[in-house]
């Protein structure tokens, strides 16, 4: 599981010159970012072992393909 803590957020903020991000803001950002990234990890785990291999379809192309398939 990837871990994003406030210390890492503060370091990233400094690297990106977002000087307004203080310890309290970094704590909140870490919570939001961690939850989001955890969902990616969980979804990848549910897919099973192996590399993430895309079938190459763009998102709009997939929407259109699925619309045609069910029409």
């Amino acid at each position: 599981m990837q871990r994003i803590d406030a210390e890492a957020v503060l370091a990233l903020a400094r690297a990106q010159q977002q000087e307004w991000i203080d310890a309290a803001a970094a704590e909140r950002i870490a919570v939001g970012a961690s939850a989001a990234v955890a969902a990616v990890d969980a979804t990848l785990r549910n897919l099973g072992p192996g590399m993430l291999v895309s079938d190459g379809a763009g998102f709009l192309e997939m929407l259109e393909t699925l619309a045609d398939r069910s029409a």
Binding site: E27, A33, A36, T43, N46, L63, E64
Partner: protein, 473 residues
């Protein structure tokens, strides 16, 4: 008859048949805005003189029997994030950049259809927030009870259409920002399929997830507006080339035999009893109209909202990063924090969320839609909360409050599917509630057919809020 209570299509037909002038509509709307604005703060700007002048031109064209567009002379108002060259949109923020040089494709299509622009509407700052709080423009309040939220981010759109201060509105929906305000203000809210409506000239929040949406008072109104704004735009490579159907004609097809799927997992968990009663009653009505209601298990819904957040926050940080660096103090604390959350999301996680999107979409569509034509679920599983209950700023409770509000809407932003919020009653606190319909990609016609049939059997969309002053203090 109060002309403000006509639907958009009724108003358009009255103008076309010269039973009503556009000026009469604009004047009535301006008078009503003057009465309601102090209580609900739905408008960011009112273009009174320009709207009256446009109305006079529209009336002159009708007198000359010129060809009239499908929205000829009808006053609309939109979320203040659709650009016109030289006009500065507030974007709901003290930190809004100078006027854009880009013309909104949606506004251009509405202009060509003859619509009149009454003003620009309040919104959550930079469209980042589902409650409708706004420290810069002032909070937008719910027209049914001004202590309660109008939801967001298209807060002014829901409140204005609900209070009959405009005959329709274009908002934007990145996590529920059209459907939530529509739901709590008692109007319909459509999030079209991603790619159905051009993004050109609309303020970006998260461009791969954003979609312009429609708030209006009837399914026919939504159908007419969608026909006007939908379709391929050569200036937006993300727009679909699929032909645009005649959504209004399809309304007459009825719903006999249509299969309405009710999720057995995730979406109904934690639904408040009064919302649940309204949802159940709406299913009974749909069943009586000939729909076949059946339970459907949704494949892997639990991570879709957070996957959506990976995209939204990463892209929002890309959009706002340089501006935030210079103007952070001009953003509200919650907004700048959410706009910066993507700075801490690894690029690999963003890429994975994008790569997973078509895969999970295919699984969802192939898992759900062979078993039903539409899904029926809540838009918002709780009664509309008060402004005070949701005024958490950037405190630790922020993420939880947001998660409750977007639980049933954000998954369909990630999946890009069309979704329509339809009023279906009132909760115990006297606020409107809705059901949400979700269909296959580009099946907006099916959503609108069901909403139209439901409207014909109920009167929820015809109910009008009564002006009350906000509570003191």
């Amino acid at each position: 008859m109060n002309v403000c209570e006509l639907t958009l299509v009724e108003a358009a037909e009255a103008i076309r048949q010269r039973r009503l002038t556009s000026r009469a509509l604009v004047e009535a709307a301006l008078e009503r805005i003057a009465q309601w604005q102090p209580a609900i703060n739905a408008y960011a700007s009112v273009y009174a003189d320009a709207a009256l002048a446009a109305a006079d031109r529209a009336d002159a064209a009708a007198r000359r029997a010129d060809p009239l567009g499908p929205l000829h002379g009808v006053p609309l108002a939109h979320k203040d994030m659709f650009f016109r060259p030289g006009r500065r949109s507030s974007l709901g923020s003290r930190a809004a950049p100078p006027a854009s040089h880009v013309q909104s494709a949606v506004l251009a299509r509405l202009d060509a259809a003859g619509a009149i622009e009454l003003g620009a509407l309040n919104m959550s700052e930079f469209a980042l927030g589902p409650t409708g709080h706004n420290a810069f423009l002032g909070d937008c309040r719910n027209p049914w009870h001004t202590d309660h939220v109008a939801c967001g981010s298209s807060s002014g759109s829901g409140a204005a259409v609900g209070a009959r201060l405009a005959w329709g509105s274009i908002g934007s929906d990145t996590g529920g920002s059209v459907r939530l305000p529509a739901s709590v203000s008692g109007v319909l809210g459509l999030k079209p399929t991603n790619g159905r409506v051009s993004l050109t000239g609309m303020m970006p929040l998260a461009p791969s997830v954003d979609v312009p949406g429609i708030l209006a008072r009837s399914a026919r109104d939504v159908a007419r507006l969608l026909r006007v704004v939908a379709g391929r735009d050569p200036t937006d490579a993300r727009s679909s080339r699929r032909p645009v159907p005649d959504y209004e004609s399809a309304l007459a097809d009825g719903i006999a035999g249509l299969r309405v799927g009710v999720p057995t997992n995730y979406f109904l968990e934690g639904v408040a009893p009064d919302v649940g009663r309204a949802l159940s009653e709406s299913l009974r009505v749909l069943s009586a109209l000939g729909a076949q209601v059946a339970p459907v298990t949704i494949p892997a819904p639990e991570h879709l909202t957070e996957l959506s957040r990976v995209l939204v926050y990463s892209e929002a940080s890309a959009v706002h990063g340089p501006w935030l660096r210079e103007h952070a103090a001009d953003y509200a604390p919650q907004v700048r924090m959410r706009a910066a959350t993507g700075l801490a999301i690894p690029a690999a996680a963003y890429h994975q969320a994008q790569q997973l999107r078509p895969l999970l979409l295919r699984r969802f569509v192939e898992g759900v839609f062979p078993r039903c034509d539409v899904l029926h679920l809540p838009t918002l599983g709780i009664p509309a909360p008060t402004l005070a209950e949701t005024d958490v700023g950037s405190a630790a409770a922020m993420w939880d409050k947001i998660a409750v509000l977007v639980r049933c809407t954000a998954p369909f932003n990630y999946l890009g599917l069309p979704a329509l919020s339809v009023p279906c009653g009132f909760t115990d606190n006297g606020l409107p509630t809705s059901f949400q319909l979700v269909a296959r990609p580009f099946a907006e016609s099916t959503l609108l057919r069901i909403a139209h049939a439901f409207e014909g059997a109920t009167d929820w969309t015809r109910r009008v809020p009564v002006l009350r002053e906000p509570a003191a203090g």
